[in-house]
């Protein structure tokens, strides 16, 4: 537990202010913000990002190099709108990394839906020969096109790659190629379908879940999913863990702590 937080001074969960050194536009609604910071990070972990006087939210790290880390942010609500308005030289607070990452294995496949691709990007960097499936609503939302070669793309409207869902595309590919493991992140109904499909082919999945979070270190209970704390027991869960989590794919938890059905897409 301590080893993952070596970059913090002690075991103290407080944000450290870091300066934005570069910004890259990944798509019309996604920007990657780069920071000069050394951090011990396993793909699949996350950090809490603080914008003073505004709010604090969990984000995965989508780039990691020697002294550089990047966070890809989809403009979606009030917090990410302000985040997108930040310029190089501005500072934000970061604490973490938190949670349990992916167990990486060769001969595997990643399946990313939308901004979920951000959490798989460092998996791909670590396992360069991995099969990559990326799905988006349309061609303009496809991420990291220059960064990763040989991606198998799909769009809902068919404007790029396969016309259909990541699940359909994965099904086609699995028929021809066997994988040790499938790593996936994206909208939860998609994740659920990926896991169900992989069960049919007897392939283990590791799934990164998203829940509203508060503490990030396992005390408040806000991010519960069937008794599992997504912040510390996850955010990555294996097929066998998910089999015991009845809420997976069905129920999420709101800011008030109410368990509600996930909107089916």
């Amino acid at each position: 537990m301590i080893s993952t937080r070596l970059w913090a001074l002690h075991m103290i969960e407080q944000p450290i202010m870091v300066k934005i050194c570069d910004i890259r536009e990944e798509s019309p609604n996604v920007k990657t913000f780069f920071f000069e910071r050394k951090i011990h990070f396993n793909p699949g972990q996350f950090v809490m990002v603080w914008i003073p006087l505004l709010d604090e939210k969990p984000f995965t790290i989508s780039y990691i190099q020697e002294n550089l880390l990047g966070i890809s942010v989809l403009k979606k609500g009030p917090f990410t709108r302000v985040f997108h308005s930040k310029k190089a030289g501005d500072r934000i607070g970061i604490r973490g990394p938190y949670g349990k990452g992916f167990n990486l294995q060769i001969n595997s496949c990643v399946v990313g839906g939308g901004i979920g691709m951000a959490s798989l990007a460092t998996v791909i960097d670590t396992l360069p020969d991995i099969t990559i499936i990326q799905g988006a609503r349309n061609s303009s939302e496809i991420l990291y096109q220059k960064r990763f070669k040989n991606m198998r793309l799909c769009t809902e409207d068919g404007t790029m790659g396969f016309k259909g869902t990541t699940v359909d595309l994965l099904d086609e590919i699995i028929k021809k190629q066997h994988f040790q493991k499938v790593y996936t992140c994206g909208p939860e109904p998609m994740l659920y379908k990926v896991v169900e499909l992989c069960k049919k082919y007897d392939i283990d999945c590791e799934v990164s879940l998203d829940r509203y979070m508060k503490c990030g270190f396992g005390v408040c209970g806000q991010c519960d999913c069937s008794g599992q704390r997504v912040c510390v027991d996850g955010p990555v869960f294996t097929t066998s863990e998910l089999n015991k989590m009845e809420d997976f794919g069905k129920i999420t938890i709101t800011k008030t702590g109410e368990r509600v059905f996930i909107n089916k897409q």
Binding site: I12, R229, E258
Partner: protein, 306 residues
């Protein structure tokens, strides 16, 4: 190794061991309460429920520092109607479940308790001592002897379950407030809530970190103050005391029981030692008892008194 007894009886509620998960810690869902019970808690407490749903304060709501934790969550909860649906079939949890009920007005407490009447809670805890949520606890003047007496009396009128009144360590007259609760029919005192409020400033941002700016202090920094409060309360009142504040080891729990606690709440300890802190604390208590030839945990309650 000799066999020792760590089970306690608190207001006729039998606990396999004296550890209780404190309110606000892992108490959002029934599934999580069950997990806490599986990790050794003798009883569990839900996150406080108010009449209406509340989103609470914005993040950051919980941070830590060298000597504990600072939080201002702001009573986020789904409101009594939704909570009554979440906290059903509580026997599945496997240990007694304590409801925590908050309100702004006397009527709110009544309405929440009535709303939870179809559930199987073993006791009701009423915190009149939150230092960081407008409209509740200290910020609503609920920590005075008179307000405590009035609210406790009102709650007593509508429930036959044991009532635990949770008090603040900030007030100098904690024993007077506890007596007011006892006189109004409370069955136990939970001592203590978080202290403060305190503030932590990020010096690079030049701003307080918590969105609410201030928050309640818990953990190691709170423990000596909690122990003193429990010690004083043990002398002043007849009803049992549930000790809470900075317990994360078996030694801490024993210290609190020697001060006079009949059971011990654990909150911030989950951060220090993980979700199985309850199991660890119990194992350490048992080991200490064996080393010190004490066969029953109940024998040490109040042992620090003359």
């Amino acid at each position: 190794m000799s066999k020792v007894n760590v089970s306690v009886t608190l207001c006729n509620i039998k606990l396999n061991n004296p550890t209780i998960s404190a309110s606000g810690i892992l108490g959002t869902t029934r599934a999580l309460l069950k997990r806490v019970a599986e990790n050794g808690a003798g009883a569990v407490t839900i996150k406080s429920i108010s009449r209406e749903p509340r989103e609470g304060h914005k993040n950051p709501t919980v941070i830590t520092f060298e000597a504990g934790m600072l939080n201002a969550v702001g009573y986020s909860n789904p409101g009594v109607d939704k909570a009554a649906r979440e906290f059903i079939n509580l026997q599945d949890v496997g240990v007694p479940v304590i409801a925590s009920v908050v309100g702004t007005h006397k009527d709110d407490f009544v309405r929440v308790i009535e709303g939870l009447s179809g559930t199987e809670f073993s006791a009701i805890e009423i915190p009149l001592s939150c230092p960081h949520t407008p409209g509740f606890g200290l910020l609503a003047g609920q920590g005075t002897p008179q307000a405590t007496f009035d609210i406790t009396s009102e709650v007593r009128r509508v429930t036959s379950l044991p009532i635990f009144i949770k008090l603040s360590p900030n007030i100098s007259e904690i024993c007077t407030v506890a007596k007011a609760a006892e006189d109004a029919g409370a069955n136990a005192i939970t001592a203590v809530n978080s202290m403060g409020p305190g503030m932590i400033i990020n010096i690079e941002a030049q701003k307080p970190i918590l969105s609410f700016q201030v928050g309640g202090v818990t953990g190691d920094a709170l423990r000596p103050i909690a122990v003193r409060c429990i010690y004083d309360l043990y002398k002043a009142i007849k009803i049992p005391v549930i000790g809470v504040g900075g317990v994360s080891t078996g030694r801490h729990a024993i210290e609190m029981m020697m001060a006079g606690a009949s059971a011990v709440g654990i909150g911030t300890g989950v951060y220090y030692r993980g979700i199985d802190v309850f199991k660890k604390v119990c194992e350490e208590m048992i080991l200490w008892m064996q080393e010190n030839s004490i066969d029953d945990i109940n024998k040490i309650v109040g042992a620090a008194h003359d």
